[in-house]
Each structure stands twice: as structure tokens, then as C-alpha cells.
């Protein structure tokens, strides 16, 4: 179980868990609930460079299409193939098995993201 209090968040409803210079990224439970059942996930290629606040992937539910934004600038070092094979992991465990990508980042850049309290006030109480 991910310690939610240690996470950082974006206004695009992503969460970031930093371990050294590797940021693990997923979408929040709030975002997964809003999308409904996720049926297709497209993630960036391992080795590709991503820029903060740009679209790097897609998350489709039966009802709608959500865009995945890079929360930080860096290089993609891993993607979650399990979630590509079984997109329902995003709904079942958004903060755990439903993680999406790992990016090497400048650890200092994480300070620009929202903390948990700020994110929860953004969504009106959900996370």
C-alpha cells in the first residue's frame, strides 16, 4: 500500500511518488472514478523524453478519453505493461498496481507539485 501522505499531486489528477531521482506516476482514485472503467491505456515509450505538463499518453474508459500529462520533465525508464494488458488495474488499485510510468527527474522539481492537502482541497475532498 502506497503511503498517500508522501505523494505529490498535479491539477491534472496524477500522483507522483519520488524514490531517489525516479518518480513513479499514476492517476488518482478521484480521476479513475470520474473516468469510469478504464479499457485502454497508451503510455510513452521507455527511453523517451517527456516535458512537464505535456500530453504523453491516453487513458480511455467506456465513456470518455482522458489524457495523461507528464507531471515532471525527465526520461521514461519504465512503463507498467501489466496495466496495458489489464487496464482495469487503474480502477482497482490506482495508487498501487495501477501505476503508469516511472520517470527519472530532477528531485528538486517535485517541490513544484501539490501536496496531498492541496490536492484534496482541489477536488473538494476526494483523492
Amino acid at each position: 500500500m502506497t503511503d498517500l501522505t508522501a505523494l505529490k499531486y498535479t491539477a491534472e489528477h496524477e500522483w507522483v511518488a519520488l524514490d531517489g531521482d525516479v518518480a513513479t506516476v499514476g492517476i488518482t482514485s478521484y480521476a479513475a472514478d470520474k473516468l469510469g472503467d478504464v479499457v485502454f491505456v497508451e503510455l510513452p515509450a521507455v527511453g523517451s523524453s517527456v516535458t512537464a505538463a505535456t500530453v504523453v499518453g491516453e487513458i480511455e474508459s467506456t465513456k470518455s478519453v482522458g489524457e495523461l500529462y507528464a507531471p515532471l520533465t525527465g526520461e521514461v525508464v519504465a512503463v507498467n505493461d501489466a496495466v496495458v494488458d489489464d487496464p482495469s488495474l487503474v480502477n482497482a488499485d490506482p495508487f498501487g498496481a495501477g501505476w503508469l510510468v516511472k520517470i527519472t527527474v530532477d528531485p528538486a522539481s517535485v517541490a513544484d507539485l501539490l501536496d496531498r492537502d492541496a490536492y484534496i482541497s482541489l477536488t473538494g475532498g476526494a483523492e
Binding site: 472503467d37 497508451e42 491516453e58 480511455e60 474508459s61 467506456t62 465513456k63 482495469s88
Partner: protein
């Protein structure tokens, strides 16, 4: 912003943990837990839907049948008491104001169920069309609740539900597109064997005060049979698989029935009906027509996406009106209006999915047909 209306079952939906959405001015359950699980439950067992947002009009009087022959596209007067019929309210132009189901309650009494978002449009169309017809119109929407039980287990669910009594004809004897009357806890119950999912099913109309009790009784009886409450998200993917049009997507004032494959609904031989002259005058040889599209893979075309006849073509041949990854079939499906030249089943087309052209094949509707 206008305050959204809620149905008599709103507290039931909240207690079941529903997420809500604005639909036709009503705050309606979009899903309870998983829209895919709800969809599959309807295909394999049964789902319970609150569709109380839909509008109910009573049409009564010595000339009720003649009035509806004039006000609707279909032939209403030949209908037998006890039967239901899908029909259209047309504008003078021949465009579609709404799609409705008409039930013949008695020789001189009908029930018309219309879409929530078109309640005012249908009410005013009917009022304008009354003229000298000897007929009374009454809008019963605010006092009535409509609950749908849909799926292969639907009949077993309604038969097992405590408090439902005196249903005649009995559920087992009720044909598709026919209705029965009965009672629930002493209140009048109207049951039609109709639906919007492509499965067998029933739609139960009761006065608001008994609706929560009926909802609870259906859930209790249905739970051992696999019944789950289901929201509008599942209802939309179910009706899409079944090739059923949704007003505002496949139907609009700018679409005439033949374009949407509904030419058979229009009784062109009737002496006169609103839209007859408009339809006769509309001869647009290249008017787009509604088709089904199927794709491989998992990326679905969505409403508004352009359809092309070649990967490099610059001018679209059509546009998607509804699309999703089909939960039952496992591949993307869509309904689209395309030019007649591109409409033959088997035609290879391309959907522009956010900049990527994905191959799609024109197919007959519906995408899914239940085994009867």
C-alpha cells in the same frame, strides 16, 4: 444554472454509492460501481435501471387515435389495445423532434413515453397539433416513476418480486412490445415488455410514493438471480451494441427518418401527418445515412470523430455519432452518418482517432443480437 431534478429514487441511488451525471436536466446515476460489470450483468443476468427521468403523456378522448395518427409518424389507429409501438414525432420539415413509445391503453386512451430532454418539445408539439381533435393531453411525468428490469433473468426477477400482484396478462404470457396492468402494494402498476438494452426486459411504471419500495423489492428478489443496479453508462453501451439510436446523437431535427434507418417507422400512406409534406419535399440525393462501424484493437472512435475513405483523404465522408469499445464484443464499435457511396456493408473506411487514422469496416446494425 438550472437546478437539476432528482427522481423519487435518488436516496436509494445515494445509499448504493452511485456516481451521478446531468442527463436531460436530471441528476441520474451514471454508475454504481463498475459500468462494465453492470453492462455484463444485463447481458448475462439482469440490471435494474431508474429511468424516471423519461416523460409520460396521457392522450385521451374520442379522437385520441386520430390525433396521434396526425401528430406522430406511425400508424397508431390500427394498434390493438394492449400493444406498444415505437414511433417518431416529426417536425413540419420531416426532421425528428423525438422518438417515443406509444401504448394503447384503451380504445380512446394512449400513453406516450418520450425522452427526458425532449419533454418540453414533445409537449408543445402535441399542444400545437391538437387543433380541433377531441382529445385531452396530460403530462404525468412528475408524479410517476419508471423502473426498467433488463436481461435474460428479467422475467424471473419480476415474477419473484414481493408485492407485485394481479398482473394481467401474466409476465410469462406478455409479448414483446405489449403491456400488462397490475398492482404493487395497492398502487396501480403498468408493466411493458420493452427496453433499451437489446435484452428481454420489463419497464414498470408506478406512482412516485411506492417507487422506492418497488425498487427495494426488485433488488431483493433479483439479488439471488444476479440482478445489479445499473447506471446510464451501462445503458448507453448496451443500447449502442443493440444498434438503438439515442436522440441528440443519431436523431435530431436535422435528420429525417430514412437517414437513420427508420423509414419503416413512417406510415407514408396516412392521409396526413405532421412532417408528411416536408418528407415528400426533401430529396437530398447524397444525404448521409446511418451505418455501423467495427474496428480491430481497443481504441474507440467517439461522437464527433471524422470518418474518411482513405488514410490520406482530406475531406471526411462522415462523422461518428456514438462509439465505444464494446464490452460484449471486445472490439470498438460506432454508429456514424456517412455518404451513401461509403455506406455499403463491407466498405473499408478510416476513423480519425485524435490524429491517427484507424481502419474501420461498415457493418449492418445491430452489432449485438440476443439469442431468443
Amino acid at each position: 444554472m438550472t437546478e437539476l431534478r432528482t427522481t423519487a429514487l435518488h436516496d436509494r441511488h445515494e445509499a448504493l454509492g452511485a456516481s451521478f451525471t446531468d442527463f436531460g436536466g436530471w441528476l441520474m446515476p451514471v454508475r454504481y460501481s463498475s459500468d462494465l460489470a453492470e453492462h455484463h450483468a444485463v447481458r448475462t443476468a439482469a440490471g435494474l435501471f431508474d429511468i424516471s427521468h423519461m416523460a409520460e403523456f396521457a392522450v385521451e378522448g374520442a379522437e385520441a387515435a386520430a390525433f396521434l395518427d396526425y401528430a406522430l409518424a406511425g400508424a397508431v389507429s390500427p394498434m390493438r389495445v394492449g400493444k406498444a409501438k415505437y414511433s417518431l414525432v416529426l417536425a413540419e420539415s420531416g426532421g425528428i423532434v423525438d422518438d417515443v413509445i406509444v401504448y394503447r391503453i384503451a380504445d380512446h386512451r394512449f400513453l406516450v413515453i418520450a425522452n427526458a430532454g425532449n419533454r418540453d418539445a414533445v409537449a408543445s408539439a402535441f399542444r400545437e397539433r391538437v387543433g380541433d381533435f377531441e382529445v385531452e393531453l396530460e403530462d404525468h411525468t412528475d408524479g410517476m416513476s419508471l423502473i426498467a428490469v433488463q436481461g435474460p433473468a428479467a422475467r424471473a426477477v419480476v415474477e419473484a418480486t414481493a408485492g407485485i400482484a394481479d398482473v394481467a396478462p401474466a409476465f410469462a404470457d406478455l409479448g414483446y412490445y405489449a403491456w400488462s396492468s397490475g398492482s404493487f402494494e395497492g398502487a396501480p402498476l403498468f408493466v411493458a415488455r420493452t427496453g433499451y438494452t437489446g435484452e428481454d426486459g420489463f419497464e414498470l411504471l408506478v406512482p412516485n410514493p411506492v417507487a422506492p419500495t418497488l425498487w427495494d423489492a426488485l433488488l431483493a428478489a433479483g439479488e439471488p438471480l444476479g440482478l445489479v443496479p445499473a447506471g446510464l453508462a451501462a445503458r448507453d453501451t448496451l443500447r449502442l451494441e443493440a444498434g438503438m439510436p439515442l436522440y441528440g446523437h443519431e436523431l435530431s431535427l436535422d435528420i429525417v427518418p430514412a437517414q437513420a434507418g427508420l423509414g419503416r417507422v413512417v406510415a407514408v400512406d396516412k392521409d396526413d401527418f405532421v412532417g408528411k409534406a416536408g418528407l415528400a419535399a426533401v430529396v437530398v440525393p447524397d444525404a448521409p445515412v446511418l451505418v455501423g462501424l467495427v474496428c480491430d484493437g481497443r481504441r474507440a472512435g467517439r461522437a464527433g470523430y471524422a470518418v474518411f475513405d482513405a488514410t490520406e483523404a482530406e475531406t471526411p465522408v462522415g462523422e461518428i455519432t456514438s462509439g465505444a469499445l464494446s464490452p460484449t464484443l471486445g472490439h470498438p464499435i460506432a454508429m456514424a452518418f456517412v455518404s451513401p457511396a461509403a455506406s455499403a456493408p463491407g466498405t473499408e473506411l478510416f476513423i480519425d482517432v485524435r490524429g491517427t487514422r484507424i481502419p474501420a469496416t461498415v457493418t449492418d446494425l445491430p452489432f449485438y443480437r440476443r439469442n431468443k
